[in-house]
């Protein structure tokens, strides 16, 4: 048989997903913008902006002479960050928060999976999940904290419960969409290979639903992260060890403003790091396989 000459639809080699947004090459306006600022690499542009913002921050603190009891300059914050991380004052709260978040997410994910399985498998489960998500999803998840404290007491279980509740509903929605939108032909191929039951789910349905699953975990983590910080702020200390929310509140109580900022920066950095992690996972999987266009920034 002669080799086919029909041209491939995609690029011949594994395409590197574009980093960030690139302007369309043909547009004259973006071409003009490219000549100066826009021609610099994304990392340089962002780095310069960040440096400028920090400089403005420092400039404001030096020039306006605000009280150090309400506002801290970047130098003080950096010193507090370094001291907190080197001395361990920030390490323990961070680990506590991440542990509670992880536990809550694990429980929330397992429940989401179970609910989704029920919803995909049965009509009743589907109706139940739709109704529950419609009712609970609009409710900010910290709002159930008073109830959780009443039910579980002033302990970590209440925090885990609130996080699990925050993670469960958005994840169940994403997972449900993922399983429902698996192409019928893909499933038919699996069945015609003789696959059924768990093997069909593991080898065909789960990977086919992966784009939505990753999106679901990503949304779930974002909800959980916001919720645990908020809950810790309200909740205060749980037993001997408090989390990052408690750390911030505690520092505020002692008017240790640089440490308040250091806690906030830590929270933001963890958020950025996890977001980058999810983006990397997406690039290596669903984007590389053409199951999803472009990596989310």
């Amino acid at each position: 048989m002669p080799p086919p000459t029909d041209a491939p639809a995609g690029p011949p080699a594994a395409p590197a997903p574009p980093a960030g947004r690139r302007p369309a090459p043909a547009l004259p306006r973006s071409a003009r913008r490219r000549a100066g600022w826009g021609r610099l690499p994304t990392a340089v542009r962002r780095g310069v902006l960040l440096a400028a913002l920090i400089a403005a921050w420092q400039g404001y603190v030096s020039a306006a002479g605000v009280s150090p009891l309400v506002f801290a300059g970047p130098a003080d914050v950096a010193a507090a960050l370094v001291a907190g991380w080197a001395g361990g004052d920030l390490v323990a709260p961070t680990l506590t928060t991440l542990r509670l978040l992880g536990l809550g997410m694990l429980i929330g994910s397992v429940l989401a999976l179970a609910l989704t399985a029920l919803a995909v498998g049965t009509r009743l489960g589907d109706d139940l999940l739709s109704l529950l998500t419609a009712m609970i999803n609009p409710l900010p998840s910290v709002a159930v904290l008073p109830l959780a404290m009443l039910w579980f007491g002033l302990n970590e279980t209440a925090l885990v419960f609130v996080v699990a509740n925050a993670v469960l509903w958005p994840m169940a929605v994403s997972l449900g969409t993922g399983f429902r939108t698996v192409p019928a032909t893909t499933v038919a191929v699996g069945r015609s290979l003789g696959l059924r039951g768990w093997r069909l789910v593991r080898d065909i349905r789960l990977p086919a639903a992966l784009p939505h699953t990753i999106a679901g975990v990503r949304t779930g983590w974002a909800f959980g992260w916001r919720t645990i910080i908020a809950a810790e702020l309200v909740f205060g200390v749980a037993g001997a060890r408090g989390g990052l929310g408690f750390y911030i509140n505690d520092a505020r109580y002692y008017l240790d403003i640089p440490n308040v900022f250091a806690g906030l920066v830590t929270i933001a950095l963890i958020g950025i790091a996890l977001d980058l992690l999810f983006t990397a996972v997406e690039r290596r999987t669903v984007v590389r396989w053409g199951m999803r266009e472009g990596a989310a920034t």
Partner: protein
Amino acid sequence: MADTAEASAAAPGTGPPLLEVAGVAVGYNGPDGYTAAVADASFTVRAGETVMLIGPSGCGKSTLLRVVAGFLRPAAGRVVFDGRTGLAPGPDRAVVFQESDQLLPWRTALGNVAYALRATGTPRARARALARDHLVGVGLAHALDRHPHQLSGGMKQRVAIARALALAPRMLLMDEPFGALDAQTRGRLQHDLAALVRRTGTTVLFVTHSIDEAVLLGDRVVVLGDRPSRVREVVDVAGVDRPDAPEFTAARRRLRALLAEEEETAHAPAH
């Protein structure tokens, strides 16, 4: 019935039927109750033969193929494959679909074929070697490690054909596999498929809406009528495999006449 050349000795498909479809009716249970797609279909496919199913749009030819594949149960009638009834989907009737969704996007071309072999019990190393051979056989030696989204429509169909043939099925089921391709690519794939089928002696049941494709690839053509359909006629086109042969023109004219009669009563224009 026009299959008069049935008795010609040594021709492919002179043995007992591998597939017997007898008085089959199929339909769907929808919101408006039962809708009949196929009212009464009977035909046979013998080992080594290529049988084409053709008919106007919506006549249920794909539905009939899905019954043979085991995805649907007939509402009435009998489907006997290799002496068995009550068919479940299985690799002995490998299916090639029209949609590119049939390739698993998370596996490479090689991975798609090798996975099918492993899922049906071939050891890993042997599966990879076999998969490579079959992809080389469809002219994709240069694209083994590409993911489906990096392949053209024609190349995707080649992978699907390689995957189906690698399973060494008793019967290859094809559901308008070239329907979404441009004319040039389709012509090349038809040519290559015919060569592969001839070389491997595979039995094929092939759904198409193209008269030319039916005449070129088929030994016999089962012409279905309008929905809910019945078999109108079975036309013998064995040995007609070149578009410049006079038999080709004759067979094509005959099929066109049969299908045109149907279209006069059709609600929607068909291909």
